[in-house]
């Protein structure tokens, strides 16, 4: 009866359509970002995968507890959960060029989980895990503009895509679409992945990474 209930639940409440899944081979994969045909996967202790259609390259970077990644034309921005930092790397050389401290006094292991960039407002956004679960808005120099408490209880990563903010929660096993102006939840989808820790979007796919299973899941973008 229990199994039947779960099968029914799966069919009727999980409209996310999985296209394929692949191993990431990155220990404790906790962050993912798609940029210009390249997929970046970052592990907790600094292992970085950069992959295109043909090749996969692995790098060992020196991080303490790297939980989020954002990449633009010139730089890679990595968020350090425990130390409350954004570390900026030169994209071509992977050399550290700066780090910025962002004040947040929650528990060390309940700190920063993801970083993204709102191309409309020209602000960086950092999300915290829980207690409190917040989005922190930062200007281009990483000065805090504001802290916003979210309606959701736990977050593992965030992404900015087509004018919305997408948040993934591993404890709630849910993907949320938030209004980028007031951060209210517009829609949500249950996700059937163990310990999903990262989310990003390519042109036509939503990509999720599982920390514990070290796998990458490719979905159709939910409408």
């Amino acid at each position: 009866m229990f199994i039947l209930y779960n099968i029914i639940l799966l069919f009727f409440t999980n409209p996310l359509i999985l296209i394929e899944k692949k191993p990431s081979n990155v220990k404790e994969s906790s962050a993912i970002f798609w940029e210009n045909k390249n997929l970046y996967v970052l592990g907790d202790s600094g292992q970085l995968l950069i992959s295109d259609n043909k090749t996969s390259s692995y790098f060992a970077l020196d991080f303490e507890d790297s939980e989020g990644i954002y990449v633009n034309d010139e730089h890679i921005f990595v968020i350090e959960e425990r130390s409350r930092k954004v570390v900026i790397l030169k994209k071509e050389t992977l050399k550290k060029i700066a780090e910025k401290h962002i004040p947040f006094s929650g528990r060390l292991n309940r700190g920063f989980e993801g970083i993204t960039y709102n191309t409309n407002s020209k602000e960086f956004l950092v999300i915290t895990e829980e207690n409190p679960c917040q989005i922190i808005r930062l200007d281009k120099d990483f000065n805090v503009i504001a802290y916003h408490d979210l309606q959701i209880s736990e977050a593992s990563d965030l992404a900015f895509f087509k004018n919305d903010i997408w948040v993934i929660s591993d404890v709630n096993a849910t993907i949320y679409k938030l209004d980028s102006n007031n951060f209210n939840v517009k829609e949500s989808w249950a996700i059937n992945v163990l310990n999903p820790e990262g989310i990003t979007f390519s042109e036509n796919q939503m990509i999720v990474v599982s920390d514990n299973l070290e796998k990458i899941y490719y979905y159709e973008i939910p409408q």
């Binding site: 779960n6 404890v171 096993a173 514990n212």
Partner: protein
């Protein structure tokens, strides 16, 4: 950060002024001096908390302040007709289970990690005016290929034991874990995970004493504990509730072995599960757990064997007679030794827990049995049955938030049976069964 520093210094000035008078009082009573110092520390950190600062960062040096407060009410119901009921029925009390503060941090990008964990509720002891040990953890870890920890912390011998009580649906652990063996000790602790921590190895080399001691262990001998834990398809944390409602089944299988050879009995009476004996104590634990869609099943078996050293009780007079007359028959066959019988303690634990997220509720059923100090010699009264405690328990938790502020209810019925070999109450089945209800509230600081 700047404001925090100001807050701390102004607070300390204020607090020191306030406490000057109490200091005079406390220092007149040496027993309470330790308590006073710890109280000052606690209040310091508490006010830091009140300023909403739970963590501090200095580049890659980080420290956080956490803790929990768990008061509860305990009452017991015995059969009215039993004479023991008259003695025990007035034992219903309110208690402070935990009043804990924890400083935990790391430096050099987690090359060093450390923890100081104090429980002020431990200072309260109704049976003695002596302050008890408030330290729950005090260690430093060096992370370089192997996690090497020096200090006082949990011993890796059982999944139930390694799960912090704040993550358990129950207010009290099962008998075999709670009172079975020492759960914390001071020494060297090693830990190594491979395959993304799906396989973990643990080893501890510790004093093997029931509590922290400044004295040399005059019983001689330390204790070695090893544990192997395998999980699939991913690592499995030590948690009592499947909060993430795992969409796929996650299994864990663990086994642990403990060995000590001491020269003195610790906590030894007929009803107690002995921490150490005058001889070899070995313990084998096996545990299995599965998480799936909010359900957690935990099964454990703990088996302890006590192999006593032979007791020398010969006398010089008899020795002299035997030496002078080889045909003399000694007073007993094994003279000058007495060969004590080996004894055993075995415990089982089965726990089924379900997290009903929609109603912020956790339900848990637990059965545990402890068969204490039995013999395998059929000539003994406690042949295969020492003092046996069967406990059937139910727990309900209402989670007020995601931060483990939890209302906990625990109802348990314990039935006694079996016999001992030495004591006056040979038949434990004559003891009244006990229905115990605990109502508690767990609040997490930090």
């Amino acid at each position: 950060m700047k404001s925090l520093n100001n807050d701390i210094s102004s607070f300390l000035n204020f607090r020191n002024n306030k406490l000057d008078s109490s200091l005079v009082f406390f220092t007149t009573n040496r027993k309470l001096t330790v308590f006073h110092v710890l109280l000052t520390l606690f209040l310091t950190f508490f006010v830091v908390n009140a300023n909403a600062q739970y963590s501090l960062n200095k580049s890659y040096d980080n420290i956080e302040i956490r803790g929990n407060i768990t008061p509860f009410y305990k009452f017991r119901i015995y059969p009215e007709s039993d004479s023991l009921s008259l003695i025990k029925q007035h034992k219903n009390i309110m208690r402070l289970k935990d009043a804990r503060i924890r400083l935990k941090g790391s430096s050099m990008k987690k090359f060093f990690e450390y923890e100081l964990h104090l429980d002020f509720a431990n200072l309260i002891d109704g049976t003695s005016n002596q302050p008890k040990m408030p330290v729950l953890d005090g260690y430093v870890t060096l992370n370089h290929h192997i996690e090497t920890t020096l200090g006082y912390t949990k011993i890796p011998f059982s999944r139930e034991s390694m799960t912090a009580i704040i993550y358990s649906p129950f207010l009290k652990r099962s008998m075999i874990i709670d009172e079975g063996q020492s759960r914390r000790d001071v020494g060297l602790h090693l830990q190594k995970g491979i395959l993304s921590d799906k396989i973990k190895f643990y080893a501890s080399y510790v004093n093997g004493l029931p509590e922290i001691s400044k004295q040399q262990d005059d019983s001689l001998g330390n204790e070695l504990i090893t544990r192997l834990e395998m999980s699939w398809p991913s690592k499995m944390k030590h948690r009592g509730v499947d909060v993430a409602k795992s969409p796929i089944p996650v299994f864990s299988l663990g086994t642990a072995y403990r060995y000590s050879h001491k020269g003195k009995n610790w906590d030894a009476d007929d009803e107690t599960i002995w921490t150490g004996i005058d001889g070899v104590k070995q313990s084998l634990t096996t545990d299995f757990a599965i998480n799936y869609r909010g359900i957690q099943l935990l099964i454990e078996r703990n088996h302890i064997s006590y192999d006593y050293d032979d007791l020398y009780i010969g006398t010089a007079e008899i020795d002299a007679v035997i030496a002078s007359n080889p045909s003399y028959n000694p007073p007993w066959p094994d003279y000058p030794f007495v060969l004590p019988e080996n004894q055993y303690t075995t415990g089982y634990l089965m726990q089924l827990t379900y997290y009903l997220k929609k109603f912020n509720s956790v339900f848990s059923l637990r059965y545990d049995q402890a068969n204490i100090n039995y013999s395998k010699n059929s000539e003994h009264q406690n042949f295969m049955k020492g003092k046996i405690e069967d406990t059937f328990a139910f727990a309900y938790n209402y989670r007020l938030n995601n931060h483990l502020s939890v209302l906990k209810v625990q109802i348990g019925k314990t039935i006694f049976s079996g016999t001992d070999i030495y004591g006056a109450d040979l038949d434990y089945s004559k003891r009244p069964s006990m229905l115990e209800i605990r109502l508690g509230f767990q609040y997490i600081i930090g």
